[in-house]
Amino acid sequence: MRLQLDILNIRDVQFADQTKMIDGVLTINRLELQDFLKEDKRLSHVDIELAHPGEKCRILQVTDAVEPRAKKSGGVDFPGALGRQGRIGQGSTCVLRGAVVILCESDGPGSPPAEPSTAQLGGIIDMSGPGAELSIYGKTHNIVLVPRAAHGVSLHDYRIALKIAGLKTAIYLARTGKDLQPDEVEVYDLPPLSKIPEGFETLPKVAYIFQFISGQFESIPGYPILYGHSAERVAPTLLHPNEILDGAVITPYRTMDIEVFGLQNHSIIKELYRRHGKDLYFSGVVITVAHDNIKENERAAMMAANLVKWVLDADGVILTKCGGGIPEVAMAMTAQRCEEAGVRTSIALAHYPTVLSGGDSTLLFNLPEVDAIVSLGTPYTPITLPPVERILGKSAAPSGEAQEMGEIRTTLNTVKGVLSQIADTKVTAVRY
């Protein structure tokens, strides 16, 4: 399967009369985009604002981030999620690199979500200062969407509409670049495993087990995750890595440090591709679920390990997780099954200390064979965000705005785009 990304580097994003791309400058007709998004009757209104790197601007209630992309040939955009099914992972896709669609959850229908875990300000992106320095999204030109629910729309339906609005905006914007000469081209080409090219047979085969959804949180019926399916109990299955890069998998409503942007630019898949044919042979990807019970996790661990060993013929496998507690246990269990089958493992995870700040490292498993662990940082270290001049991402609620513009003392995990459970970060927790 061969996927070509035709990349246009974005220098600036502005509002204008016409939505188009000229010389790296993306202009957006705000009204046109708003009308397009309001075709979804679940939404009454969509605020759209821009946030640029270096601005003293803070974005609140961030729930997801999407890179503007649109298929040029060989498939449909976000198949299933937007209704139409279709091929993906082949042909070419236009990418606007340097621009990101940011999704913010406004107060929604009725009262705000009553989950005690939701920090008052939700996910935060700062466009300058220490938060911006560490975050992927502090350095990009952001198109910030704050969709509001139409009267009588349930919270679940609103949240689906929110994600759909993000995906539609990503396509709408990237279509401006479809006929332009790309600034860069990336090719992701991996043949079927039965057709290993000559000379590559001796390379160690490495696979990836991608835990993409956690059952620890209630799923939203109809939420589009895997080719439009909510997928919460799907058995471990093979996906071609290109399918993931090209939009087959969408983040569930609640994730921990994984955004759609991260899936489109999946760093482990890209790294395996980068070294493919050099010091390893990329033998494939298995997607799996972290279930909320031990029986299903045992079943999934065994099935995933069997796929990796007996279908992908892997010598080694990388594993990651997508949440906190049981996802970590499920990942470790899967790694253990792989090791038992003779497949060497290494895992990458954000890990917690024994006391929130200043504690020693701890893990939720202790398996002698699961001994190759990369640290993706520790989430609850304090960070102070300096005052800003502009707040985005909240539906007009003047009360409290002064506080939100002021200095915020929070923890690293609330700043979006800093920590990544799929290893797209240089943050690492060092044990002193």
Binding site: P116, S117, Y352, L356, D360, K426
Partner: protein
């Protein structure tokens, strides 16, 4: 390097560091086990391994005195001995203290750790010890004190001493201390986020390749250490037993009266079941960030099965259900807090005459 009129001076124009060295009776040349009871004495200048310390120090410092103390004397009354030794050390007005290396000698290691901790706290000067990884002094004192990792015996004395001396000099100069594996000390036990030069993805792929090839690799996260908990003996007669329900699923009365944190809890509550046949969903809420509590909110018995326990009570299969249930939130919990809560809960339950506990989680 300027080599002019600074004969007496150490680094950066400051005078040479005055170091006091601590040894046990064996390395201090007094004797073996038969002299382990001997109390502390102080001698001028270096003794035994102190020669190696002085060599490693070179122009940076001078071993002004050596304290020697028997291992039994020290380990049998650690606090008193620490005080005594510190008094001896103090008279030489040192800038830093080096203790050991103790290698795999357990009592010696404990003495070195206790002394270094005392020196830091009471004299406000740096102190460094050296031990083999299995020395019990490591686990007891690594949180408080820099302990250089050494081999298990004096064969590698020179290398161990040189690392100890380098570290103590840097501490005395107030320099930033590097990572444990760079400096050779046992991790003190706290996590700090840093920015690596490579993405996590690059590092994790490199690690699996090293593992496939059978090459050595350095895991970035150490395996956890779990306490060993011996199970209590079984209940002989359930029919006379008082059984309590304890949950970490976050079920609390509406309004969360004890203000238990939904994440990283430090508090727990206990809530009356007196005269309650069954929990009324209207009276409770769930305070927990780790799961979606829809099913518990519908019927709290799914988490705290008071209904079933009342049945068992009526059937006479248990003596009675304890008249309070205990709850906290087991999400993103930190070990030290949970340990404290567990101990406090266990004490209350025991004081109340509870003979068995059913723990429910989510």
């Amino acid at each position: 390097m300027p080599s002019d009129a600074k004969e007496e001076d150490g680094k950066m124009g400051s005078r040479k560091l005055r170091i006091v060295h601590y040894l046990n009776q064996f390395f201090g040349g007094i004797g073996g086990e038969d002299k382990a009871h001997v109390g502390p004495e102080i001698k001028n200048g270096p003794v035994g391994p102190g020669i190696a310390v002085q060599q490693a120090l070179g122009e940076r410092g001078i071993v002004v005195a050596t304290v020697i103390c028997g291992d039994n004397y020290f380990s049998e009354k650690i606090e008193d001995a620490t005080r005594e030794v510190i008094r001896l050390i103090q008279s030489h007005q040192p800038d830093a203290v080096i203790a050991g290396p103790a290698f795999d000698a357990g009592r010696y290691g404990i003495a070195c750790g206790a002394l270094c901790k005392g020196v830091q706290n009471q004299l406000g000067i740096p102190a460094v010890a050296g031990m083999f990884k299995e020395n019990p002094g490591v686990d007891l004192y690594r949180k408080d004190v820099y302990i250089i990792e050494t081999g298990d015996s004096a064969r590698k004395m020179a290398e161990a001493v040189s690392r100890m001396v380098d570290l103590v000099c840097r501490l005395a100069a107030n320099e930033k201390i590097g990572k444990p594996f760079e400096e050779g000390y046992f991790p003190r036990g706290y996590l700090e986020n840093e920015v690596s030069d490579r993405l996590g993805a690059e590092r994790v792929v490199s690690m699996v390749l090293a593992k496939i090839r059978g090459e050595s690799f350095e895991s970035e996260v150490p395996p956890p250490k779990f306490d060993q908990v011996n199970p209590a003996p079984g209940i002989r007669d359930l029919r006379s037993a008082t059984i309590a329900l304890v949950t970490d699923g976050g079920l609390v009365p509406k309004g969360n009266p004890d203000r238990i944190e939904a994440r990283a809890a430090t508090r727990f509550g206990s809530y009356s079941l007196k005269g309650i046949k069954a929990l009324n969903p209207d009276d409770y809420e769930v305070n927990h960030v780790g799961y979606t509590p829809v099913y518990i909110l519908q019927d709290p018995h799914r988490l705290v099965p008071v209904d079933v326990m009342r049945d068992l009570e009526e059937e006479g299969r248990i003596g009675k259900l304890h008249d309070r249930f205990f709850a906290t939130a087991g999400a993103v919990c930190v070990v030290e807090n949970v340990k404290k809560m567990g101990q406090a809960m266990a004490k209350e339950l025991k004081d109340d005459g509870v003979s068995g506990v059913i723990l429910t989680s989510t």
